[in-house]
Symmetry: C2
Subunit: 459 residues, 2 copies
């Protein structure tokens, strides 16, 4: 296996030359900032952080993150002002184009020589007790990893990240809800090699599994499937954004890989399928699958994806309430900012009546109320029951009705999604949807029908 | 109200003349037996028992039950032999036709002057500790009631029996599973009047309600909805055969009667409905209702009804297992000894696939087994799940398949029912069934659609 890992490493790791160039480039940028700050008498230190600093960046994802740290005596307004100003100055001086962005607090992004560089202002802190914002922690993370991770282990991080990426469990953003880069580094610090992580995951990991490198013993504070205590902050769970689904998908992928250690697990799988085959699959299932589509505003993934997810969950809950059983659902946003929610129902058409169970007969007060409400209520052993007309007998009618302006507040959608849906939506059968869909969506539909295709590979 | 009760009583109570004639007739029969026994030196005493002896027989149901009691020294064979012989002798001497029958033990029945008379051999016992068979208790019951019930109270029993009969909660046989005549008498002994029983039932009765006239305190031994300790046997629950359904139907009828004390509650309701109206009702419900029909042997109600009930329950359980949800069902046996099981399903056709939930992912041993069984199993949060082909997608296919000879032992039917079903059955849609059914069945179908029609009456 080692030769395979070496081969894979070669294709995903920066060469010494590439790395040195990037470091030199970063150093030049930092020098620009420091020189200018000195001339203005601003107390700032610059530091390359993130995966490039930690030697854990995949070849195509070697983003440069420069953190500018200011003394704790500067107030937040001043820090922001100096930070953005210095970033902008540097980007323009280096011939790039600056753009202000917001994460937990504002930072400056520039494209210089085709590289995307982030300039982030933060406080100069010694440990997590001095934390003023989430970004302050990044420097502590970089310091911890660079001081603990060997070069050999950094390579193992690369293998792990690549594997995770291929099986679609990598990325702490809301869309994936997988393992963050820092979490991958901690896993290698715990287990020392990719192979050991895979083995531990496939045999030892279980729900509420704990990784606590510094033995803080604070895991009882957290309740996620994986609990990874931040070595630089005992009150933080690095795996907080990892979903249970992705945790167990990784375990399953690890088991599959051990069974068949193919290098396919380090490549993204290719989907080759025709529209007719996808349609045929749904027809063979003989279920009722609908797709709800609506435009969404161009907002960051972590803002808009939760809203679409909430919309899907609300419609599923509403459907369950009216006894339309869901087999499964999924959602995605395409490149034209249209969100699609696919819902597969066991049955799309229910009978006109339903049995409604009532109170105990011996409870005369509630019996009276029930009989007033349902005059045809009858005795069903100890309880009342009533045959009532169903509110909805058809799944399309149900969804269209709840999305009407006068009803839509009965379910919880995100604010932006609600506006867009009230403006316009479409609701079509999956076959009609497949007929009209774009190429990029094939994989989404294929993945729905083949939930294993990323975590299980043949040679 | 009293005048209504008086009017009703007039129509349901034997006149003094009628009663005296029946008593005289019974006495003559008993004399025939005693004379003959004396000539044969047989030690026997004769006693008129049952409702006629207790003055609680409804006018059209004044059956004559003559119990012939023998000393405990006679063994069972001798008791049976003498009993049947004396009964037969008496019937033939009186010009009737004798027929041997079996309940818990054999007795002789004869039709004499259009009256049906039972001659039952039993032991002469003083209290329940000497009981040798269930019939021995009858004399104790008759003695208890005649010595405790006033003539006024006997009239109240008649009203209660008539009311119960009209609302279809009277009769301890398996078909009704309602209140026995003796239980009605105990209720009047407890509450003294029909009106008091109705009031108690509608306001005070609840699940596990206890009636214990002799304060034996043995109710903890029983677990039925109504527990009525037999005054002559503290270890017997007189309400054992009363179903929860009929107990609460009576409570409901009592409440309805109090709300609207109409004399309609003392008459059997008439059903006037056309086939087309019945069909229309089912079509409006838009459910899938099937009727399974098969012949049954001519066996006593209490033998064959439980078998048909068991068959229905088995098919319902089997249906639930395959996710065909039942709204409700009923069964009956028509006058030509054909049993009909009506089953109303929410949905008659299900999709081709179903979701099968599996073990926890972290349970690697069971994960392996599950994946071997279902190679396409996928991760659903903490658990495995698999999309499988359904065994049955259609309710007719399901029922026809399970009733095949090679499968029928998977469900529990009565022995006699199983043979008949293997020989021949029909399974049709309710509308086809209604088209072909006999007049007597209208009420059965009407009752299914209108479960309240006997317990709720308009003026």
């Amino acid at each position: 296996m080692i030769f395979i890992y070496d081969e894979i490493l070669k294709s995903i790791k920066l060469s010494d030359n590439q790395r040195n160039n990037l470091l030199e480039f970063s150093n030049n940028l930092m020098k620009i900032i420091l020189d200018y700050a000195k001339s203005r008498d601003i107390d700032v230190e610059c530091k390359l952080v993130g995966s490039l600093a930690k030697k854990t960046s995949l070849i195509n994802k070697a983003d440069i993150d420069i953190f500018m740290s200011f003394p704790l005596s500067y107030d937040e307004e001043l820090l922001k002002e100096y930070g953005l100003m210095l970033g902008e100055y540097c980007i323009e001086k280096a011939g790039g184009i600056a753009e202000k962005r917001y994460a937990s607090h504002p930072y400056m992004t520039g494209i210089i020589n085709d590289e995307e560089i982030d300039f982030v202002p933060c406080y100069r802190i010694k440990d997590s007790s001095q934390l003023k914002s989430a970004v302050d922690r990044t420097i502590l993370h970089t310091d911890y990893v660079t001081s603990h991770l060997t070069d050999k282990e950094a390579d193992e991080v690369l293998l792990l990240k690549k594997f995770m990426s291929s099986v679609n469990t990598y990325g702490a953003n809301y869309k994936v809800s997988g393992f963050s880069g820092y979490l991958c580094e901690l896993l290698i610090l715990e287990y020392h090699s990719f192979k050991n992580v895979i083995e531990a995951a496939s045999t030892k990991w279980h729900d509420k599994f704990i990784i606590d490198l510094e033995d803080y013993g604070t895991s009882h504070k957290f309740n996620t499937s994986l609990i990874a205590i931040d070595p630089v902050d005992k009150n933080r769970n690095v795996a907080a954004a990892l979903s249970t689904q992705k945790f167990f998908e990784f375990i399953t992928a690890a088991r599959n890989f051990i069974e068949n250690p193919s290098k396919e697990y380090f490549n993204n799988p290719q989907v080759n399928i025709e529209k007719d085959e996808l349609k045929e699959e749904f027809i063979k299932r003989n279920t009722t699958t609908v797709v709800l589509s609506f435009d969404v505003p161009s907002l960051p993934t972590d803002v808009i994806y939760p809203q679409v997810n909430k919309t899907m969950t609300s419609i599923i809950n509403y459907s369950n309430h009216y006894h339309f059983n869901i087999i499964d659902g999924k959602y995605y946003i395409d490149s034209e900012n249209t969100a699609h929610i696919l819902l597969e129902y066991e049955i799309g058409q229910l009978p006109n009546i339903e049995v409604h169970k009532g109170p105990l007969i011996q409870d005369s007060k509630n019996s009276m109320k029930f009989k007033q409400k349902y005059p045809h209520a009858y005795v069903d052993n100890k309880r009342w029951a009533s045959i009532n007309q169903r509110m909805y007998t058809n799944v399309y009618d149900m969804i269209r009705n709840i999305l009407k302006e006068e009803n839509i507040n009965q379910i919880k959608l995100g604010k932006d999604v609600k506006e867009e849906i009230l403006n316009k939506f479409s609701l079509v059968d999956i076959c009609d949807y497949v007929d009209c869909m774009q190429n990029e969506e094939y994989e989404e539909i294929y993945e729905y029908l083949n939930p294993n295709y990323r975590i299980y590979r043949k040679d």
